[in-house]
């Protein structure tokens, strides 16, 4: 039984034998780690705070045959304001769920971990949730190597310059000559303006922590968010629960 330490964020937790929990952490050192934490439901549990959703902690674990075991934890950041703002919570949930669903255990992606932690920090500190979510999702898709290519036409390979459309079923964008009227009329397409392409280029190079210095229109962030959602649904084949959560918050009444 080897013990190890890791810096991690709690992505989601399920009840396990009464007061226990099975928790998915996304760690800097080992990627996704599934661990059992015992005695969480009891008052005064020293592990309870670290298994709370989205909490960033220093974790001490012991390797197990199937599941690792959380033995000690020290909370680094609890991101408490997420609890007070249900939309921020939804966007934090989206990023965490994306990593929970799109990564395998034991596959460390330190850049994705760092992007996640900075995104949670920005959401916690009252940055516009759509901006943070769109920027962080783009960076995380890049970290995972699954960001859509907006620079080349998926059909003829030509470099894209003028405004065209991203097509989710083909996981790519098309140039002016390959574009047909039908392409523009599906629910699974997003227009790719020169500004949107420039924004995605910038996000690839720009440190997440300096996000507030970017001066970008809200509409453009929304386009980016839509494009990412389509890529996640069609290319990664994921229906994220957080998405239906966020949709419920948008509905009036």
């Amino acid at each position: 039984m080897r013990s190890y330490r890791a810096e991690g964020v709690a992505l989601l937790a399920h009840e396990y034998r009464g007061t226990g929990r099975v928790v998915n952490f996304f760690t800097r050192e080992r990627g996704k780690v599934e661990a059992v934490a015992q005695g969480i439901g009891k008052p005064g549990s020293s592990l309870a705070a670290a298994v709370e959703l989205f909490t960033h902690s220093q974790l001490f674990l012991v390797e197990g045959r199937i599941l690792d075991r959380l033995t000690q934890a020290r909370v680094l950041e609890a991101f408490e304001s997420l609890r007070l703002h249900v939309r921020r919570l939804g966007h934090a949930g989206f990023l965490c769920e994306l990593l929970a669903c799109a990564t395998e255990p034991g596959q460390p992606i330190p850049t994705a971990f760092d992007d996640l932690v900075i995104a949670l920090r920005l959401l916690d500190a009252d940055h516009e949730p759509v901006t943070v979510a769109a920027a962080a999702t783009w960076r995380i898709l890049g970290d995972l190597g699954v960001a859509p290519d907006l620079d080349r036409c998926v059909r003829c390979g030509a470099a894209l310059e003028a405004t065209r459309v991203f097509l989710a079923p083909e996981a790519g964008s098309v140039c002016g000559s390959c574009f047909t009227d039908e392409d523009g009329e599906t629910d699974a397409s997003v227009p790719v303006s020169a500004q949107l392409r420039a924004l995605t280029g910038t996000l690839g190079r720009f440190p997440m922590s300096r996000l507030s210095r970017l001066n970008v229109d809200t509409a453009l962030w929304n386009d980016l968010l839509r494009l990412e959602r389509l890529q996640i649904r069609y290319y990664l084949g994921l229906e994220l629960q957080s998405d239906s959560f966020l949709r419920q918050l948008c509905r009036p009444g």
């Binding site: 992505l11 009840e15 005064g44 959703l53 997420l82 249900v86 919570l89």
Partner: protein, 201 residues
């Protein structure tokens, strides 16, 4: 397991579906049942079926109920001007054990959770809002768990009901458990206990 008689295999399979029960525990429980008196096993089976058949949700508060209303809603001596909002019927039982509370309850049947896709529409929040409008209570106590999910749920309900008439909205006190040593508590709990401090009377 192939060597076990079919009814035993099925029994083990059914027990194993229960939450928190692994294959080993399921086998142990099955063995225990097979060794018990037939009358005992029949009593257990009857209790299972009867609980399932007779216990539903209260029409007004969604607590467990035999019949249309739960015992609390049906009790005319309960105070009708306070409503305590909880996640599950089991929380009603915990609050009742304290003997401190004489008002009504409202069971949400869960808490907001983005990663599990539990949004406001999946909880009894619309029913709560309608009930508050109808009952016009003096106070609503938000007694969801002090977890991310429970806090977010309480906050969401608070924001939905902000500015409704004279309603006083309170949150159960959060902080250190009775008998806990301060130096063993995690920093989140200690920070909350500090923020929730109150003048000594």
């Amino acid at each position: 397991m192939a060597s076990l008689p079919e009814p035993v295999r099925r029994l083990i399979e059914e027990i194993e579906r229960l939450p928190g029960i692994g294959p080993k525990s399921a086998q142990r429980l099955a063995l225990h049942l097979l060794q018990s008196d037939e009358a005992e096993v029949e009593a257990l089976a009857r209790a299972l079926v009867e609980a399932k058949r007779r216990v539903g949700r209260c029409r007004d508060c969604f607590n467990w109920a035999v019949g249309e209303l739960c015992e609390i809603c049906a009790d005319s001596t309960r105070e009708r001007d306070v409503v305590c909002v909880v996640e599950q019927p089991i929380d009603v039982a915990a609050l009742e054990r304290s003997g401190e509370y004489r008002g009504l309850y409202h069971v949400l049947e869960g808490a907001l959770n983005p990663v599990l896709g539990v949004g406001p529409e999946n909880l009894r929040i619309a029913a709560l809002l309608a009930r508050i409008e109808e009952l016009k209570p003096r106070e609503m106590i938000l007694a969801t768990s002090p977890t991310v999910e429970g806090d977010a749920t309480a906050e969401y309900i608070r924001s939905e009901l902000a500015g409704v008439g004279e309603l006083r909205i309170t949150r159960i006190a959060l902080g250190l458990p009775v008998g806990a040593d301060l130096d063993y508590a995690d920093q989140v709990t200690v920070a909350r206990a500090l923020r929730g401090r109150r003048p000594m009377e």
